[in-house]
């Protein structure tokens, strides 16, 4: 829906691509190149959608303005000459990811997304043992006991509670209960949780793994040493809940987050023997989930996969961006959703990135690209991995998409 | 053949295949290792009534045991592997697991494996602990006294059961003295046990009976008091016969043991009342192993 107003137009019901909740009630006021988000946008979305009227910067080669053609050629030359390329950032819409996969498989190199730490904490359990997970609308309608494990995920997924735990749910009898285990709701979250029973269970710093271990033991009918906090009431509440949900933002869990996830999934697994329960494992942003999904159906592996002479191998440790950069001589940095700052790197850098990206040092090639969901259409995945969200085009910036740039580089390769 | 005045009759012991295994039982002291070993090999004289035949093979010095404590090696034989798999854990469970400070280890490798700790672990009700070190799995079962340690399994061997010698003497006292001397010498042979009380059986049997359901009955041909009523195999001067039954891990072991027994008896000689050495058989058609006394002593 688009309305003309004053010196521009207001687009309504815009789909937001950033955090992965896929809110689709954002209004964007677009005037020429300038963009201002209005109703619906959370603070982060508003900041990320905001654009000034200034035109996007030109592509650059070695710090000098260049045509896209020149930049594409320079990028192709660097790729052709590189011994070991790290494809980093990797934040693009599905089409962008598809093209980057083709480029990486042709040139060789490792692939990782800049926000993948949480994803791999989740995969550590889902890939190894599996779990029973759920999606946003199931939680919204069924969940009578929502247990937030660790730090409040709404710090990253701002409108989470509005989306998944409104005061009433279609199948929820009585008041919905939300328990924060080892974290507490932000002030913003508290506002979203008005009308719900909210309880906070304090867990000592670094004690989340132990707390979840004990909860799992209690839910399984075992006994554990009696230490604080007493988790028996929570275990009982979960066992008597009709549809308990354990939710977490894996990216916020810290280095032993994989163990938290493993134990939370075990709790859910045990609960499902007698009642219903599910995990809501949140992770990532900027289409991390979509990048991983696209990778799975094209390559068969999750990201953190390396291509070498047309062969893909998956190694989550060696292909983590940080590790890959240690022995790479070229970094291809892709970030279409936000001006994410690339990591410092000694070798050559090709940046296919948001126009506002700032760099520690000038990249060898910089090609500004449009944002999916603003400058061009695209597809991103919601954080629950099932639903994917169509992104629209809401202004004419002339900025190319990642897909276009990657395709052009591919075509220019020797 | 006559050796030192003792006639070695032209006879043979007819023996059968049995399957057996060896276990090493240790304890904090040699005394308790032996108590456990004796208890677990008790009531195991004959497969006919006991389901197995078992006995102490030898005392194992600390330097040779798996845990460096005093030990005893025992051998257990049964008619088939199924029988062995049933009696071994049962005996360990009742007599070794229960015996203070004991531990139980595999005494042989190879052959079909016989569960020991693997079968006994359930006693620990979920508290059992398994360790796999040096390619071998071992179990620890928490017990009131501490922990019972037991190997996962032991090997088995196709052995020989029912080797025997009969000592024909002029009196009961002389027969027993000769038998004791024989057992003492035979005990030094590795790989063999003499499963009857003190190694000696005074009631050697023949196959079958006039009574239905009896598989064996008194060997009337060698009963001195029945000399007048039966086709006695005894020379007139013989007044008492003792038998020593041998089970061994191989033909050679039983043969060596047989020889050791005869040698000890012969050493006593005719002067000590030993008239002859004989052996029990069934005509040679039933058991595949024949221990010909004269060949062994040749």
């Amino acid at each position: 829906m688009t309305e003309a107003v004053g010196g521009g137009v207001t687009h309504k019901d815009v789909v937001c691509p950033f955090c992965g909740l896929g809110c689709d009630d954002i209004s964007l006021k677009v005037d020429g190149l300038s963009v201002e988000a209005g109703e619906g946008a959370c603070g982060r979305a508003a900041a990320l959608f905001r654009r000034s009227a200034a035109p996007a910067p030109s592509a650059r080669v070695a710090g000098r303005d260049a045509s896209i053609d020149e930049a594409v050629s320079a990028a192709a030359d660097l790729l052709a000459g590189a011994a070991s390329t790290a494809y980093a950032g990797f934040a693009a819409d599905v089409n962008g990811v598809r093209s980057l996969i083709k480029l990486a498989s042709k040139t060789g190199g490792s692939v990782d997304h800049y926000a993948s730490a949480g994803l791999f904490r989740n995969l550590s359990t889902s890939q190894r043992k599996g779990w029973i997970a759920t999606t946003l609308a199931e939680v919204r309608n069924r969940c009578d006991l929502f247990v937030v494990v660790g730090p409040d995920p709404s710090e990253a997924f701002h409108r989470l509670y509005t989306r998944v735990t409104p005061p009433t749910g279609r199948f929820v009898e009585g008041r919905r209960k939300v328990v924060f285990l080892g974290g507490e709701p932000s002030a913003e979250a508290r506002q979203q949780l008005v009308g719900l029973d909210v309880e906070t269970i304090e867990v000592r710093e670094g004690g989340l793994v132990d707390a979840l271990s004990r909860l799992n033991t209690l839910v399984s009918g075992g006994s554990t040493p009696p230490v604080e906090p007493d988790l028996a009431p929570l275990a009982e509440a979960l066992k008597s809940a009709k549809y308990g949900v354990l939710a977490w933002n894996a990216a916020a869990l810290g280095a032993d987050g994989d163990l938290v996830v493993e134990r939370a999934a075990a709790v859910v697994d045990m609960l499902n023997v007698t009642t219903r329960a599910a995990c809501l494992p949140l992770a990532g942003r900027d289409n991390l989930i979509g990048a991983n999904q696209t990778f799975l159906w094209n390559i068969g592996f999750p990201i953190r996969t390396a291509f070498r002479s047309g062969q893909a191998t998956h190694d989550q440790a060696l292909n983590r961006t940080g590790a890959a950069l240690e022995s790479a001589d070229l970094m291809v940095w892709t970030s279409a959703f936000r001006p994410e700052r690339p990591p410092g790197f000694e070798g050559k850098v090709v940046a296919i990135a948001h126009p506002d990206t700032t760099f520690e040092s000038e990249p060898d090639v910089f090609i500004p690209v449009g944002q999916p969901g603003l400058d061009h259409r695209g597809l991103a995945f919601r954080t629950d991995t099932v639903v994917s969200i169509p992104l629209g085009k809401h202004r004419d910036s002339g900025l190319a998409s990642v897909a276009d740039v990657a395709k052009r580089i591919l075509e220019r390769l020797p | 053949m006559i050796l030192n005045g003792v006639e070695i009759r032209d006879s043979f012991a007819e023996a059968f295949p049995m399957v057996g295994t060896r276990l090493i039982i240790t304890a904090d002291s040699a005394k308790w290792a032996m108590i456990a070993a004796k208890t677990m090999t008790g009531f195991a004289t004959s497969v006919i009534g006991c389901g197995c035949e078992a006995g102490v093979e030898r005392v194992v010095p600390e330097s040779e045991t798996p845990d460096g404590r005093p030990g005893v090696a025992v051998l257990i034989f049964a008619m088939d592997i199924k029988g062995l798999k049933s009696v071994v854990p049962n005996r360990i469970g009742q007599c070794v697991l229960t015996s203070p400070t004991s531990a139980c280890y595999a005494g042989m490798e190879g052959g079909e494996s016989i569960s020991i700790g693997k079968a006994l672990k359930y006693f620990a009700d979920g508290w059992q602990i398994s360790k796999m070190v040096g390619g071998k799995r071992i179990w620890r079962l928490p017990v009131m006294e501490g922990e019972f340690v037991c190997d996962h399994d032991t090997g088995s061997v196709s052995g020989v059961g029912g080797g025997n010698i009969l000592i024909l003497a002029t009196s009961r006292g002389e027969a027993l003295a000769a038998a004791e001397a024989a057992v003492e010498n035979m005990s030094k042979v590795e790989g063999c046990i003499m499963p009857f009380p003190g190694g000696v059986v005074r009631s050697g049997s023949k196959v079958g009976s006039k009574y239905k359901g009896m598989f064996a009955s008194t060997n009337n041909f060698y009963c001195p008091t029945l000399r007048a009523q039966t086709d006695s195999h005894l020379p007139p001067e013989v007044a008492s016969v003792m038998e020593i039954v041998i089970d061994g891990v191989s033909f050679d072991a039983v043969a060596a043991c047989t020889k050791a027994g005869i040698e000890a008896v012969v050493a006593l000689g005719r002067d000590k009342g030993v008239v002859a050495i004989d052996a029990g058989n069934y005509g040679g058609d039933l058991g595949p192993f024949h221990f010909k006394l004269r060949e062994i002593m040749a």
Binding site: I101, R128, W297, F301 | -
Partner: protein, 552 residues
């Protein structure tokens, strides 16, 4: 104009009554033409000694979507072990039971398949499904939309909104998801599992909506009939895999009261409880019922021995199966007031009584169902076995001595419970052409596929006439897709992409208002975000929309 002349082969085209007719086949601008249109053939293919058939069509193969990706994630060992062969047409993918998109297209087309349909599109996942199907080369595709556990529908039925409202909803959903048929998976059972029911019989009431699977099934059968969809309801029935489910299957056939119904992977629904293991073959009874009821068609879902992964929307049954996962891991998901999924890796073992009997039951069904136009060759890829086992399956059907040889390898206990050894039937080549081409096209409502008559699409396959039918069907000599040679001498020589097929029956626009509200309130996002646009399909190509009785 491009024109191709295939000469010297024997045409096997059961749809047009041609069985081994020696004639040339002409393809002009991607479609089969009568000879007079193709005088100036630009390319001639010598098919001497070969058998010319239409491209094969798989009506039931799980080739894409969220569950396939979960399977890939879970089967990382398989992905590491099996990679796409290197070469010009390699896309760095891999897998067998979890084959990646590009590899799926390549392996299918090498066997002569040119159209494969994804039988379980969960509406919430439709967008993903379409974008993934877009990365599968060579094949025409389409999806069957999973309905029957979606809360909106159950609420419509339970609240007595009437058949018309259901029809409008079904049409709305087909339009929104761009699917071509309706699938039901465990009618009402997936939904009931969300309310903690563990079993659902045909006449058992849903714990919340109090309607039965029978009611859901018959309502949706009516809906697709009244909407004029070519393909009948594609049903994965109640009690999948449960011993004794033959009764459920027979009751389900009876419940149709003569209305058309396609029952899928029926092998998994043909189990009795006879014998000391309380597991036996129900194939005789089921085949008899299929033979007697011309409104029923089935696909088999043959199992083959080896490692695979089972992927199903039926979380209720997959949760029951979690204990037999091999390797020991599985994923379940409740999905968006819509359906669910459960992915359980599994290895069928020929030494297993149950698995061996499952294998025999599938073959019994193939051999006992008399009408080849109502039975389809599937393994329910990857649930029964990867689709790459089709050539082996074909040989089992065509070659009784070979079948007997395989049967003899199975445990005696299983053979005792199967009549397979007594079944003398051998499929003819014509019957293979029917079950893999002509009949699938017919049951899906394609008039321009599955045959070689003038006007049909130029999806043509030439097989070497090899007495070893497994070898013959493993690699086609030639495959033409829309008239373009894509496989030559068994090797892929060019990359093309197929089309996506859909239906779009008309519906009363008042349904828009109801669904706008449903999405706003229940789903938490907008119906218009949910709906797929044409530009989202195959980078703007859109779908091929097939006519339905009510379409505008």
């Amino acid at each position: 104009m491009s024109a191709v002349r295939i000469t010297g082969g024997k045409v096997l085209d059961p749809a047009n009554g041609e069985v081994g007719v020696a004639r040339d086949v002409f393809i002009v601008d991607g479609r089969i033409a009568s000879s007079d249109l193709a005088d100036s053939a630009t390319e001639t293919i010598d098919a001497k000694g070969g058998i010319v058939m239409a491209g094969a069509i798989d009506i039931h193969s799980h080739i894409a979507g969220g569950k396939s990706n979960i399977a890939r994630l879970l089967m990382v060992e398989e992905q590491r072990a099996i990679r796409e062969p290197a070469g010009q047409f390699c896309a760095c993918g891999g897998g067998l039971s979890t084959m990646t998109a590009h590899a799926t297209g390549c392996r299918y087309v090498e066997m002569g398949y040119t159209a494969v349909f994804e039988p379980a599109v969960v509406a919430a996942n439709a967008r993903h499904m379409h974008v993934e199907m877009g990365d599968i080369p060579f094949l025409d595709t389409g999806g069957y939309l999973v309905l029957g556990n979606d809360d909106f529908l159950l609420d419509l039925i339970a609240s007595g909104a009437g058949q018309q409202a259901v029809n409008d909803y079904v049409a709305w959903m087909l339009a929104a998801t761009k699917c071509m048929a309706i699938k039901i998976v465990n009618p009402g059972g997936i939904n009931a599992f969300k309310f903690n029911s563990r079993w659902m019989q045909l006449d058992e009431a849903n714990p919340h909506y109090e309607i039965t699977p029978r009611k859901i099934l018959t309502t949706l059968i009516k809906a697709v009939t009244e909407l004029g969809l070519a393909h009948p309801i594609h049903l994965h029935g109640c009690n999948l895999g449960v011993p004794g489910n033959e009764d459920t299957t027979l009751e389900t056939i009876a419940a149709t009261e003569g209305m058309p119904l396609h029952m899928t992977h029926v092998q998994f629904h043909s189990y009795g409880t006879e014998g000391d293991r309380k597991f036996s073959s129900g194939a005789v009874k089921i085949a008899e019922a299929v033979n007697k009821n011309p409104n029923i068609s089935i696909d088999v879902g043959q199992i083959m021995f080896g490692q695979t992964v089972t992927a199903s929307a039926d979380l209720m049954s997959q949760h029951r199966n979690r204990g037999i996962a091999t390797p020991k891991r599985w994923i379940g998901m409740d999905i968006e007031m819509d359906a669910a999924c459960g992915i359980v890796p599994f290895a069928y073992k020929d030494k297993s009584f149950v698995n061996a009997l499952q294998w025999a039951i599938g073959l019994e069904l193939f051999l006992l169902v008399e009408d080849p136009w109502r039975i389809f060759l599937t393994t329910d890829h990857p649930n029964g076995a990867p689709f790459t086992t089709y050539p082996h399956l074909i040989r089992l059907l065509m070659d009784k001595p070979f079948r007997d040889e395989q049967f003899a390898k199975l445990p005696k206990s299983a053979r005792k419970h199967s009549i397979l050894g007594e079944l003398k039937r051998e499929y003819t080549l014509e019957e293979i052409a029917i079950v893999t081409r002509a009949a699938p096209a017919k049951i899906l409502g394609f008039t321009d596929r599955g045959h070689l008559g003038a006007g049909a699409v130029g999806d043509v396959v030439i097989y070497r006439d090899d007495p070893d039918r497994e070898a013959m069907f493993s690699r086609a000599d030639y495959v033409l897709k829309d008239g373009q040679v894509v496989v030559k001498d068994g090797e892929i020589v060019g990359l093309t992409y197929g089309k996506t097929h859909s239906v779009a029956p008309d519906y009363d626009k008042s349904m828009d208002v109801k669904l706008d509200r449903w999405f706003d309130e229940a789903m938490g996002f907008k119906a218009k975000t949910f709906k797929l646009a044409d530009h989202e399909i195959r980078e703007g190509a859109g779908t091929v929309v097939h006519a339905t009785a009510r379409s505008a």
